[in-house]
């Protein structure tokens, strides 16, 4: 009876209460694209790892080269390098080559903002 243009069938659900129909329609209209949910999830996933958060929190203070990050966090170079690759791939940090060193920094202020709002939340 309702729209069945989607994959799963949950036809056995809540159908009796047709009063919900309008709610469903209303919220569905305001949803973003499927792809955007995926992209957004990928983006937030980056913040979901303590090592990456540590790196980001350092870069929020000042730009740093890889070896400084390793030392400050007492992590081995492979670990840091790997996480930096992920951060780079997701456009969360950028870097600049200086001789044999690579100086990393945050790409934009959103990163710092999200970090700070999250910190506020858990500190309540």
């Amino acid at each position: 009876m309702a729209d069945n243009n989607l994959e799963n069938n949950n036809d056995d659900m809540c159908e009796v209460f047709n009063s919900h129909e309008d709610v469903i329609e209303r919220v569905q209209k305001r949803m973003i694209e499927e792809d955007q949910y995926s992209n957004l999830a990928e983006f937030f996933k980056i913040f979901g790892n303590p090592t990456r958060l540590k790196i980001l929190s350092l870069l929020a203070i000042e730009d740093l080269c890889v070896c400084d990050i390793c030392e400050a966090l007492n992590l081995n170079q492979t670990t840091v390098s790997n996480q930096l690759r992920i951060l780079r791939a997701n456009n969360i940090v950028k870097y600049q080559k200086e001789g044999k060193m690579a100086r990393y920094s945050l790409t934009d202020l959103h990163i710092e903002m999200i970090y700070k709002v999250g910190l506020e939340h858990i500190l309540e």
Copy 2:
């Protein structure tokens, strides 16, 4: 030569450039507790899944019962219930029993804020 009060030894790194020593010390002083990084990562991890993001984006529009969420997202009940449990456990949504239904809502504004800043970021 430096402080070796930490677990790993990266003594073979950057030691020649003692100019970095002060940088290390400076940023280390401004780091938060190890536990807080973990908590923060757990918190952000929640946003790192498209299904949960969808649920959150719906609840940012209006409070909803489980079956409305299922229908609106065309997901089966177990999946939604499971994700709601995770959201509850992380204090990101709360709920209110109304007869046999459970009406879910976001716990606070931080959740919506983070969602929106993230969306802004990926839309650039």
